[in-house]
């Protein structure tokens, strides 16, 4: 059963890792904690639902359209909301993301209502492969593989593409990047689009295992945020590893120690790690000149 618990932890950890990556992508470029990330992802999942159930589109068509929607949504959020702030402080920007979260939540509740719905995902959440005593659901497998692919694509994007390198330059020093001819505003807008795609992917993998409803991403967002803090808010590999650690520890703790405290173990873990290594597991501690 131990392995079964670990596999369960890895599957849920994959979703946390994607949410953590989405938060870190934005944080690295703008130092803004995007608390609207979960609801942006939830809105994208509802758009998929509308295309599948409302317009009867097949999933292979609805999926890329959703990703396109997610990019536009993320970029619009940055362009229409965040960029409008005059002389913004980081705290002010965070408050703006909270407002954005409430706007999206209200919009979804108004359009689709609060009823729990089923996302007609092509893979059933309870079809499973059995290997010896181990049971791995197809959805868990798809979640794990998708998360790995997403991480690989992000790695290749940041390492080998011009835009990816421009994003890294903007992250390191926005003013210097601008002086070198990089349009940092566009880069910032692009990172919101990219984060929105990563978040939307997480939402599409979370909804079939639970339900599609306006609250579906609150818990994953919190766990994703915990994972990002655990791994280091400025480290993409840290965020991914943080997600897997939270998922596995949560499941092991819930099964073998105390199921009552399963939900809070992620936060206890953060406190412990931050006491030992304040910048998180993989992020470098740096001192800013002021």
């Amino acid at each position: 059963m131990f392995l079964q618990v670990v596999i369960g932890g890895i599957a849920v950890g994959s979703a946390y890792a994607l949410m953590a990556l989405a938060m870190v992508i934005i944080y690295k470029t703008s130092e803004v904690l995007n608390f609207a990330q979960g609801d942006m992802a939830m809105l994208s999942a509802y758009v998929t639902f509308m295309m599948l159930s409302g317009y009867g589109l097949p999933f292979p068509v609805a999926f890329p359209l959703t990703m396109l929607f997610a990019i536009i949504l993320g970029m619009s959020c940055e362009f229409l909301f965040l960029r409008r702030a005059k002389e913004p402080t980081v705290l002010g920007m965070i408050i703006m993301t909270l407002s954005l979260e409430m706007i999206i939540f209200g919009l979804v509740s108004w359009k689709w209502g609060s009823d729990q719905r089923t996302l007609p995902f092509p893979i059933s959440s309870y079809d499973a492969y059995t290997v010896g005593d181990l049971i791995i659901s197809k959805l868990e497998l798809v979640t794990f593989v998708t998360a790995l692919l997403m991480m690989l694509m992000l790695f290749l994007f940041f390492r080998y593409t011009k835009v990816g390198i421009a994003v890294k330059a903007t992250q390191l020093n926005k003013d210097a990047a601008r002086l070198m001819g990089i349009r940092t505003n566009r880069i910032l807008m692009g990172t919101w689009g990219l984060a929105s795609v990563v978040g939307a992917t997480a939402a599409l993998l979370i909804a079939p295992a639970s339900t599609l409803d306006p609250y579906m991403m609150w818990d994953p967002l919190l766990k994703g945020f915990s994972s990002a803090v655990l791994g280091g808010m400025t480290s993409l590999p840290g965020a991914a590893i943080g997600g897997y650690i939270v998922g596995i520890v949560e499941n092991l703790f819930g099964t073998y120690v105390s199921i009552e405290f399963k939900s809070v173990v992620a936060f206890a873990l953060i406190v412990i790690i931050l006491c030992i290594k304040p910048s998180g597991l993989l992020a470098r501690h740096y001192v800013k000149k002021v």
Binding site: S114, S125, Y126
Partner: protein, 389 residues
């Protein structure tokens, strides 16, 4: 001629006193006028518990039907229902607004234990009758309060007894929400199981907002129960059924009446709900009961076309039935005391809920449920008659 004006003045004075008194008996009772009786309710129409808002919309359809039939002794019912978003602070503000504004004679249902608890003392202070949705297990009683929902420990005990005696289950697990609702069910279930010299194979809690129930499902799989009783909210039940199905947990699932919206549960679990045995506090929405048929016709007439005829709608009607019956029995001279007295005289009243009996000493009106089974396509089959603990 001299005495005529004096006689007219005298007659006018007497008439004023008589008429004033006549109008006064209505005007003095809060929420009651010569032409209407105002009844209030709170329910979440938006927010996390929005699906439960159908309870209040059911009550609304019922009152519209009563008004179309001529009202009660010449008075129409004005239903003042507001959306509290399942937020106790909003419940408090909304109740205060309608009690101190237009005035309310009574409240019907009122979704959410926490919301009910938030206004409990206020309703006591203002002497407003409350036919409560939260049961007496959760809310402290008062002379103005009447409870219809069977207490959770009693309902759980009935389910355990059925599982052991009728279904022959020997190894039962209990999956519950870690709050008063879930613990209420656990308490009654444990007591009943003890009578059969049995213990739960495993007792597994979850938090209402948990989206990952893998640990809980693995614990169930390890315990290998032949039946699992769930005492959770619909979301946890849905996630557990999907997670357990993926882990190939094969068992008999048993659920309380809070999960009795079978068509909905069947739809959101992709048909996994089929075969679930559950308790009901009201007649089945698709039953041939004449009252249910009558209310369904009212639903077709008064509810918006986008609405779904369901257990929750029926429950909203069931909570209002005893109050309407008491108002009919009281006659035109409506006062809070008279309606309370009439409710207290109610013995074995049968609407669409089970048999309801109130007395000044025992305000838990309904104590019985029946058992049903979820069939394919969201349909249900009644397995027993009304059962008491």
């Amino acid at each position: 001629m001299k005495g005529k004006p004096a006689r007219i003045i005298g007659l006018t004075a007497i008439l004023s006193i008589v008429l004033g008194g006549a109008i006064g008996w209505a005007a003095d009772v809060q929420g009651v006028s010569d032409t209407e009786i105002r009844i209030g309710a709170w329910a979440p129409q938006t927010g996390p518990a929005a699906p439960w808002g159908a309870v209040s919309r059911g009550t609304d359809v019922y009152f519209k039907m009563i008004n179309a039939e001529g009202g009660i002794h010449g008075r129409k019912i004005k239903f003042l229902s507001f959306d509290d978003q399942y937020n106790p602070a909003k419940t408090k503000a909304g109740v205060k607004e309608i009690v101190e504004g237009p005035g309310v004679f009574a409240f019907v249902a009122g979704t959410g234990t926490a919301c009910g608890l938030a206004v409990r003392d206020y309703l006591v202070d203002h002497g407003v009758i409350w036919i409560a949705l939260p049961n007496g297990w959760a809310v402290k009683g008062d002379k103005h309060f009447f409870f219809l929902y069977p207490e959770y420990p009693d309902e759980a005990a009935i389910l355990v007894k059925y599982a052991v005696e009728k279904m022959g289950k020997k190894k039962i697990a209990f999956f519950y929400q870690n709050d008063d609702y879930g613990k209420g069910g656990l308490k009654g279930a444990r007591e009943e199981l003890k009578k059969h010299n049995m213990k739960f194979a495993v007792e597994i809690p979850c938090e209402a907002q948990d989206r990952d129930l893998k640990s809980q499902a693995i614990k169930l799989k390890m315990a290998k129960p032949d039946a699992v009783i769930m005492w959770v909210n619909p979301l946890s039940a849905i996630i557990m059924r999907k997670t357990a199905a993926a882990l190939k947990v094969e068992t008999q699932w048993i659920a309380p009446s809070t999960l009795a919206d079978t068509p909905f549960m069947n739809k959101v679990t992709d048909g996994l709900w089929e075969g679930t045995v559950y308790s009901c506090i009201a007649e089945l929405a698709e039953s041939g009961n004449p009252l249910v048929k009558k209310y369904k016709a009212a639903f077709d007439k008064y509810a918006p076309k986008s609405e779904r005829w369901s257990f929750l709608y029926l429950a909203g009607i069931g909570f209002a039935e005893p109050l309407v019956e008491a108002l009919k029995r009281v006659g035109r001279d409506v006062t809070t005391e008279k309606v309370i007295a009439e409710l207290d005289k109610m013995k074995n009243f049968k609407g669409i809920f089970g048999h309801i009996t109130f007395s000044p000493e025992d305000r838990q009106g309904q104590k019985e449920v029946f058992i049903a089974e979820a069939l394919k396509g969201g349909k249900s089959k009644q397995l027993t008659g009304w059962i008491k603990r």
